[in-house]
Amino acid sequence: MIRLSHVHKSYPNGALALKDVSFRIGKGEFVFLTGHSGAGKSTIMKLLFAEQRPTSGEVRVSGYDVSQLRPDEIPKLRRRLGVVFQDFRLLEDRTAAENIAFALEVTGARGDTIAARVMRVLTQVGLSAKSQAYPRELSGGEQQRVAIARALVNEPAILVADEPTGNLDERATRGVFQLLRDINTGGTVIVMATHDLDLVRQANYRTIELRDGGVVYDSAFDETDQTEAAR
């Protein structure tokens, strides 16, 4: 589903964000990307949804080669991905249902199917009773659930979550994490960047640790040392 081969990324100011990063993520996997701030987690996330391109190397996502992607292919790739951020990125002047419907409308979904699809994902994230609430009327955890529902509504094969629990209290974090696990159980690949090591320890998922732009640990190849590396 995802393959990075010898990916380098440097910025115009000369800063090196990624150096020789290679890994593969297969169907149905749940993968944590961990590391300190500035380790390269967010850069990898941005490469996955083609917000940035690698300076060299190959990034393949869901059959698309991000390094060679034409501008008109970027929306096609993004429709096959769900993306969730730490800051939710909801439109403040639209209700929960409208925020989710927006993602369908902009991709040209049939109007008569939208309401039913929105309701289905709202139920999936446990917010069917709050469909008409505006983001300011929802708690942080609920807002993140709406953002996840929006990411899911196009039925993506891959969900990319960049620090999705970074702004949440412990209880909301547990709830959102459980939701992501449930989604993964349904077959969706989840790539989650986090520096919450408690969360990483809770589940026995594959963990890729980054340091200074390089992969220093991948539990898929070093099962025995996982706890040590996470620490």
């Binding site: 008109d72 929306p75 790739l77 993004r78 439109l91 002047d93 927006f102 409308e105």
Partner: protein, 289 residues
Amino acid sequence: MKLLAREALLSFRRAPLLSALSITTIAFSLFTLGLFGLVAINLRQALHGLEERVEIVAFVLRGTPAETITLATQDIAAFPEVREVVYVSEEQALGRARRELVEFRDAYRDLQVNPLPASIEVRLKDGYRDAATVERVAQRLRGFGFVNDVRFGREWVQKLDHLRNITGIVGLVIGLAFAAVAVVIIGVTIRLTLLQRAREISIMRLVGATNWFIRGPFLLEGALKGLLGGLLSLALCYGGYLLFRDRAGGVFAGMIFFHALQMLGIVVFGVLLGLGGSLVSVGRHLRHV
């Protein structure tokens, strides 16, 4: 399409002040342009009235036989530039002088001999009243043996020519300057809207909206603002026109307003300005989002 219209209209509702500002600036830019246009068409109308009075007078030598003159007037009437040829005999000239020059009525009444020569008055067709054509026709009239002198108010015709050229050039320059200002203002207001909605645009891109889908509402919004601005400017122009026509003590009583096609032109120009301004602004912004 429904979504496109809804998103475009939504931006009016979300930012009524900014939208009103854009529409007003477009309206005022077009209003200035429209006022100049009004001055131009009225000046042209007035010049046309003046031009109609451009005539060439060939004075006839005393004693020229009537047949010669008749043949000559037929000849002159056949010139491609000539609309009308009128022969004014010595008696008619005197009669006209007595009628029109009231101050000299007594002097003309006591005359024993008529001092006024007969003349041939030539009026030119529309489009042939410029200085060069007038001069050319005058030259040909001088060629007739019985013609003593030809007068046509050379300086007056040349000044008219000059005025017409200046009006055209000034109109074009000021018009283009105002159009450029309007494009910049529209571009800036659309850019403000874009910045205000940068978050929304980034979310649209994130969920896979195509660039044209994102541009659509903004372009429609620009075009709508241009349309409303154009209509408002026409209303303002009409107000200004009525004010001048009715309140300026009859000096401008003969003023004319744009005809339907010209009004349509102003509105279409407004729409194009709105569209152009937003296209430039959206294109530039989307490259950076």
